[in-house]
């Protein structure tokens, strides 16, 4: 038995505890250094495990409680390649966020780093565990850390965003717990394999189906899929930038990772669940991709824009999962990592704008980004990658997903990628190149003044963004057959489905859509009347979308119940 599996979880926890206990005695920079080293060590440890797991998952029984006579008494970790790779990516993203946040929070002692380390440990535990309740515990550690970090800046918008986030996600946790209660009442077990065997004996049982519905809703709330997506923009837009990097880069994909864990180890033998997932999750993913893209396009608060683009791309990942195919799963896992790296870099650039230009409003920042042009290059590259530039990890992922997707889902993918990429490119053009019409007085930002700590050197903030983008491009040459092997392991040795169609044109369609949208928005004052009419036609749609994203927590909870009802329909 390998000794590695507990280390990347328990190690950061112990260090966070010591950091908190010593917070009043330690010199100022200790928190930064310790947190950075811990994140890197956790990442290396998970990478090591990913290599070890090539010949089969590393199984670790806590407390030495190996199953006896088929009965699982304790909690196990089963470290497969997908989980270990994703955990390694999470460690790396945290390291980048901690470098980006260097000196960001001077005064509230090491509390920021304590929360970040706990946040990371929760995510890594979530990826590695093989027990349903343990999964919930780590999910909850992650959520609680996220709640606290969102409101960290104590502005009134940050606080109400954090409150909406906390209420909706806490309800999601209780739904998860309800699902765990139902499946435990039926099976009397919590280990994934034991549950999988139990589900196989009576796959059509309404209790099992209801457990799946509750668990999936809980995870989809975290993954911010339509109609659970509302909290995300409120929270991601107001969180401190280093925290937004993690939120958009990893936390949303973690929710989808949870759905994947449900679909394969636990409910693999339930054809009704898989049939419902094939329709409902596919529809939800497509709706999220389109609505997220449309919402991103009509934002001018740059972080809120990026937050909606996260909804859109998480929708693309959900489409990949809902295809229930080995190749598509391999693509989805690749896409999760690739998107996390790119989105992390983009939020880092948004943080740079907040720190150096003292604002986050796209119109207000017009042309102000010229002195920090390297950040503009990073943002433009990120926008192109979001739009589907055929290079790097995201492209590898999308081409695998697209190979088996039906045509209407492909259209949603193109729209999502095109709109979000177009929105980011538009911001790049306006902020860093001064394109677009000059804003009049009436275009004043509707949001409050924001600024993040400014006296950090530009290179320190830019280095993590550049590193993340370089990884998103560079790692693609090293993956080889890893995604396919990892997906096969994840699905329990599934045979590859029929090879899908190659669709190389797809990325070019979404890329040109993105460029066209960005150009339309930046130069519509010079274009013909036809283009102006087109923009006017869009107005009522965008007004409805804005009104639905109301910011009132009661609305969000009503939509959560609607989502539950959708699941009840799909499974009945």
């Amino acid at each position: 038995m390998s000794v590695l599996p507990p280390l990347p979880v328990a190690g950061p926890l112990a260090i966070a505890g010591l950091l908190l206990a010593g917070a009043h005695a330690a010199p100022p920079r200790v928190g930064d250094v310790v947190a950075l080293l811990t994140a890197l060590a956790a990442s290396v440890c998970c990478g090591w495990m990913a290599m070890d797991a090539a010949n089969g998952p590393l199984v670790y029984w806590f407390g030495g409680w190996q199953p006896r006579d088929g009965l699982v008494l304790g909690i196990g970790f089963s470290v497969d390649q997908a989980g270990a790779c994703f955990a390694a990516f999470i460690g790396l993203l945290f390291a980048a966020a901690i470098v980006f946040a260097w000196g960001y929070f001077d005064t509230v002692r090491s509390h920021f780093h304590v929360l970040m380390l706990l946040f990371m440990a929760g995510m890594i535990g979530f990826c590695l565990t093989h027990d349903l309740f343990n999964l919930f515990v780590w999910f909850e550690v992650m959520s609680v850390a996220g709640f606290a970090l969102t409101g960290y800046q104590l502005r009134s918008s940050a606080l109400s965003g954090a409150l909406n986030f906390t209420v909706v996600n806490t309800l999601g946790s209780y739904l998860l717990l309800g699902g765990i209660g139902l499946i435990y009442a039926r099976m009397g077990a919590l280990d994934f394999s034991a549950l999988g065997r139990g589900v196989a004996t009576d796959p059509g049982d309404p209790v099992v189906l209801a457990a799946f519905a509750l668990l999936a809703c809980g995870f989809l709330i975290k993954a911010a899929q339509v109609p659970f997506q509302f909290w995300l923009a409120d929270a991601h837009a107001v969180a401190p930038s280093p925290v937004s990097i993690i939120f958009s880069g990893a936390m949303v994909s973690i929710g989808l990772f949870g759905v994947a864990r449900l679909l394969w180890p636990v409910f693999a033998a339930a054809p009704m669940v898989h049939a419902a997932a094939g329709t409902l999750l596919l529809g939800m993913g497509a709706a999220s991709a389109v609505i997220g893209g449309a919402m991103a396009l009509i934002q001018r608060h740059i972080k809120r824009l990026l937050a909606f683009s996260t909804v859109s791309h998480a929708g693309i990942m959900l489409i990949g999962l809902a295809l229930l195919d080995r190749q598509a799963l391999a693509g989805t896992l690749t896409y999760m990592v690739g998107h996390g790296l790119v989105k992390g870099a983009l939020f880092a650039v948004a943080g740079i704008l907040l720190a150096t230009c003292g604002g986050i409003d796209e119109i207000g920042l017009r042309g102000l980004g010229r002195p920090i042009w390297p950040a503009g290059i990073a943002m433009g590259l990120g926008g192109l990658l979001l739009a589907g530039l055929p290079i790097g990890l995201m492209d590898q992922g999308i081409s695998r997903i697209a190979a088996t997707a039906p045509v209407w889902a492909l259209a949603a993918i193109v729209l999502g990628a095109g709109c979000t990429g177009g929105a980011v490119l538009r911001v790049t053009g306006r902020v860093f190149a001064g394109m677009g019409p000059v804003a009049g007085e009436e275009k004043r930002a509707p949001t409050e003044e924001e600024r993040e700590k400014a006296d950090r050197p530009l290179w320190l903030m830019l280095a993590p963004a550049a590193l993340l983008l370089a990884l998103a491009l560079g790692v693609a040459f090293l993956t080889g057959t890893l995604p396919d092997n990892a997906a096969a392991q994840f699905m329990g040795g599934a045979t590859p489905g029929p090879a899908g169609a190659e669709r190389p044109f797809l990325s070019w369609i979404s890329l040109s859509l993105a460029l066209a949208l960005a150009a339309l928005d930046l130069f519509h004052h010079r274009l013909m009347a036809a283009a102006r009419i087109a923009t006017r036609l869009v107005h009522p749609v965008s007004a409805v979308l804005q009104a639905v994203h109301s910011g009132v927590v009661g609305d969000y909870v009503a939509w959560v119940v609607v989502g539950l009802a959708l699941f009840a329909f799909a499974l009945s």
């Binding site: 929070f105 001077d106 509230v108 960290y152 700590k453």
Partner: protein, 92 residues
């Protein structure tokens, strides 16, 4: 035995509804403490003394106390002046 559990389950349903119906937060604190007490009794009846113990300490005492403190603080109106809405951790 069985009637006791039935009665306590019905009481739990009522107490939960009571917490929701008490729209005035000050009255709600009382209904919350009552809810905690009912849950404690239910847990005892369901043979879960450990859980009942924690529910008594947390649901009947600690959490209502926090609510009371928050309500007192809100009624004191320790509002910040508009100019005070500055960032705490040097994010200037």
């Amino acid at each position: 035995m069985s009637t006791l559990i039935v009665v306590l389950l019905l009481l739990t349903a009522l107490a939960g509804a009571g917490v929701v119906i008490a729209r005035d937060p000050r009255r709600q604190v009382l209904t919350m403490a009552a809810n905690g007490l009912v849950l404690t009794c239910l847990f005892m009846a369901l043979q879960a003394p450990d859980v009942a113990f924690s529910e008594l300490a947390v649901g009947t005492a600690a959490v209502p106390l926090l609510f009371l403190v928050v309500l007192a603080s809100i009624r004191m109106d320790r509002r910040l002046k508009p100019g005070d809405e500055s960032d705490p951790d040097g994010a200037q």
